[in-house]
């Protein structure tokens, strides 16, 4: 019950991690099935329709329901601590964001249980995704599930933006903010400006599917290229939404384990902002073959290439952070260092893809699959493993086992390169992506087999990580405030896991790497910015959970309205159910708005007692 009503960012972070991890396993299982189908030519392991469903759900699940929530998990767990805040700006909305996301994610995955699964690829190009060519309810699940999950993400994004702008501890100016916080800040901004475009695209597709609109129906004057544009205006920023937090994590981990200040902090900040900005102007590089013509193709080619420059700045800054440092190699740092060459390999294939005429050869081939798994798995997922291992003690009060951790790293790392390196060649040798079978005798067989073996090895790596989490949870709780000994930022000044209120006294920040600075000045603790006093906390609330359920019901109702017959007159049962769902949603909103939540206070004495307990 506590978990259903919590508005504490640390707990919400754990909820995000659990949900995201769950979906990662599902997405990973789908990936394994994809690879098993492709391990030999003309395989009949799964059917053609099932295969379409697998790739669609794999892509969608991994990006929206696994990667994003795990990113949000780390952001929730870390940002308030890094900026010296007691909470996020909108604790209630934070919980609402989570439950909304979860309700969307579950709605999407219920499609497997119902047997009507989305099958038009994660990009859902029209008209394949329209009712003419995708008759089952599969795509309705996609549209509804993503719409709902997307709202949750947008809420989360705004919450983090305001948190970072308004809740920083005294002295924590923007240019003293830890790199992870900066990256999250830019990520949230990208969410804010990218997700509404997706929302409109999905709404239009939903109107097409459920209410007979004609946005993407070429027979009625609709335009299929419009969908591509709308999807990618959202879609390209989305990939930077994914990678930026990883950039932030890598910056923190590498600097900590090199015992060195992040090299070129201000250029890192600048590069992050620039990537975010440029990220909006390159969307059509996914559409070189759509036929926009040479002028548009040139523009987007050049704009895309430009992104190499700020990204390069970041890569070299990481290398030079290690330069002259005193580097240790615990699992977190292994993942972080493994990230650098791997991500660069994915990045440079991105630049290759941006060469429009050559892209005519690469596009929609396994070369692209190789590219984006290098940046996503080799980049983001490595980053997430690094971040989770690094902050695990802060989140759960226990350090993960290094021994299992190293096994995790090596199996995952080797499995990863086995899986995806060969895919570059597969693509260039004429293997399109999203194919269910390939013919024998095309010289594609051996490499596909290697790729499948690699995927299984990655599966082992993932399972080892889970094993590690389980084994570790049996260890006694309560590690040091600063288990890595070289912590540089504010989160390492408070207990692991932190008390509800995070900071007994809001710290005074005197420079970049606030904690490190105090350490170097010979202090053991931060200078407080306020005397110990009562601490105001927000109340828990069940409403976010209820609202999530409301959305879930509404989504279901509208989706099945065409099937469920009528209630009275011309009112469909489905619509009635939908309205009930919305009523739950808006009812809860009204209740929330009418009932002032003044929160409660943790008395000074309790805080003091906590302090002594720790001392």
């Amino acid at each position: 019950m506590d978990w259903l009503t919590t508005v504490d960012h640390k707990k919400i972070g754990i909820l995000y991690l659990l949900a995201g991890g769950f979906f990662f396993l599902i997405g990973g299982l789908e990936a394994i099935l994809i690879r098993l189908q492709l391990w030999k030519p003309l395989n009949d392991f799964v059917g053609a329709q099932t295969f379409s469903e697998l790739i669609t759900m794999h892509g969608t699940t991994m990006i929206f329901l696994a990667a994003m929530p795990i990113i949000f998990a780390i952001m929730n767990a870390v940002i308030p601590l890094q900026i010296g805040a007691r909470d996020v700006a909108f604790p209630f909305l934070n919980a609402l964001g989570f439950w909304t996301f979860l309700s969307g994610g579950l709605l999407l995955n219920i499609s497997w249980l119902v047997g009507d699964v989305p099958d038009a690829g994660w990009t859902s190009y029209a008209p394949l995704a329209g009712t003419t060519y995708s008759v089952s309810h599969g795509m309705d699940y996609y549209v509804m599930g993503l719409q709902i999950a997307g709202i949750g993400t947008l809420i989360g994004g705004i919450n983090f933006l305001v948190t970072i702008i308004n809740m920083r501890a005294p002295g924590m100016s923007f240019m003293r903010m830890p790199m992870f916080t900066w990256a999250s800040f830019i990520t949230s901004a990208l969410i804010l400006f990218a997700f509404p475009a997706l929302a409109v695209g999905l709404a239009a597709l939903m109107f097409d599917r459920l209410f007979g609109a004609n946005f993407f129906n070429p027979d009625m004057g609709g335009n299929v290229v419009l969908w591509e544009h709308i999807f990618w205006i959202f879609g390209h920023p989305e990939v930077y939404i994914l990678i930026m937090p990883a950039f932030g994590i890598i910056s923190e981990v590498i600097s900590t384990f090199s015992r060195k200040r992040l090299f070129g902090y201000s250029s890192m900040v600048f590069a992050t902002i620039l990537i975010g900005f440029l990220g909006f102007m390159v969307w059509a590089h996914h559409m070189f073959t759509t036929g926009m013509g040479p002028v548009a193709n040139s523009l987007f080619s050049i704009a895309t290439m430009l992104i190499a420059v700020p990204t390069g700045i970041k890569v070299f800054n990481w290398v030079f952070t290690m330069w002259g440092g005193s580097i240790t190699f615990p699992t977190a740092n292994l993942f972080a260092i493994g990230f650098i060459p791997t991500f660069v390999m994915g990045g440079v294939t991105g630049i290759m893809l941006s060469v429009a005429p050559a892209n005519f050869q690469y596009h929609d081939s396994y070369f692209v699959v190789a590219h984006f798994h290098y940046v996503i798995v080799g980049g983001l997922v490595f980053g997430l493993f690094a971040g989770l291992t690094y902050w695990w003690p802060k989140m759960f009060g226990r350090v993960l086992s290094e021994k299992i951790g190293k096994w995790t790293f090596w199996t995952f790392f080797i499995g990863f390169h086995l899986t995806f390196f060969v895919q570059h060649f597969l693509g260039l040798m004429g293997m399109p992506r999203r194919i269910w079978q390939y013919l024998d005798g095309m010289d594609l067989t051996e490499m596909n087999m290697i790729s499948t073996v690699g995927a299984l090895l990655m599966g082992v790596g993932t399972l080892l990580f889970i094993l590690n989490a389980i084994v570790t949870s049996f260890k006694p709780k309560g590690t040091d405030n600063d288990p890595w000994k070289d912590g540089r930022t504010l989160e390492w000044t408070i207990p692991s896991p932190p008390p509800e209120y995070n900071f007994a006294q809001t710290p005074l920040v005197r420079g970049y790497d606030a904690y490190w600075k105090e350490k170097m000045d010979g202090h053991k603790k931060m200078t407080p910015a306020e005397p110990i006093g009562d601490i105001h906390m927000p109340n828990s609330s069940i409403l976010p959970f209820v609202m999530g359920i409301g959305l879930f019901i509404a989504g279901f109702g509208f989706m099945y309205a065409p099937d469920w017959g009528t209630l009275v007159g011309s009112i469909k049962v489905g619509h009635a159910v939908g309205v009930v769902g919305l009523a739950i949603l808006f009812g809860s909103m009204i209740v929330r708005s009418m009932k002032d939540d003044h929160g409660y206070h943790i008395p000074k004495e309790v805080v003091l007692k906590d302090q002594e307990g720790k001392a």
Partner: protein
Amino acid sequence: MSAHTVDGQLPHEPEKATLEGRNKILGFWLFLGGETVLFATLFAAFLALRGQVLDGPTADQLFDLKLIALATGILLTSSLMSVFAVNALHKQNTKSLIGWLVATVALGVCFLGLEIYEFVHYVGMGHGFTTSAFSSSFYTLVGFHGAHVILGVVWISLIIYQLKKRGLNTTTAPKVYVASMYWHFIDVVWVFIFTVVYLMGKVG
């Protein structure tokens, strides 16, 4: 950080007096930034599809400038009413605040009435939601705006109720302020709708 204030003595800009209030206002501004993208995408879809009339009536045949001018005037005025409401808020005159808000809502309802009349009229002319890509994108764009108006009307009404019940304080003040921002935003979007959809539609 607490929401308590000594009774009767509100600070000069009560909406910004608490951190919660300031968070709310900032968050709302950012939300409006996102809404800008939302409407921009709707506009983009409309612009791309506005020529695809098929057998349905054209924009020129459909639109009646007088009706649109009337709707525009109403919405603009109601936006002014909400400006006065914020003025009253700053003067901490709860009574006139409520008065202005009621005026805002009333005009909003008039606007909605006109819009409903307009839509019914168009459907009668053979311009249904599913007639063509043009009609779908038209109803979606204008309808999204209309839905925002409905939401605004309900929301401001709820705030009026709260003000009546609890009066003006540091919790209700940010709500009024934010709702008025929302209302202005709706008006701003309408400026583009009447320009891009109706006037440009008339021009052809």
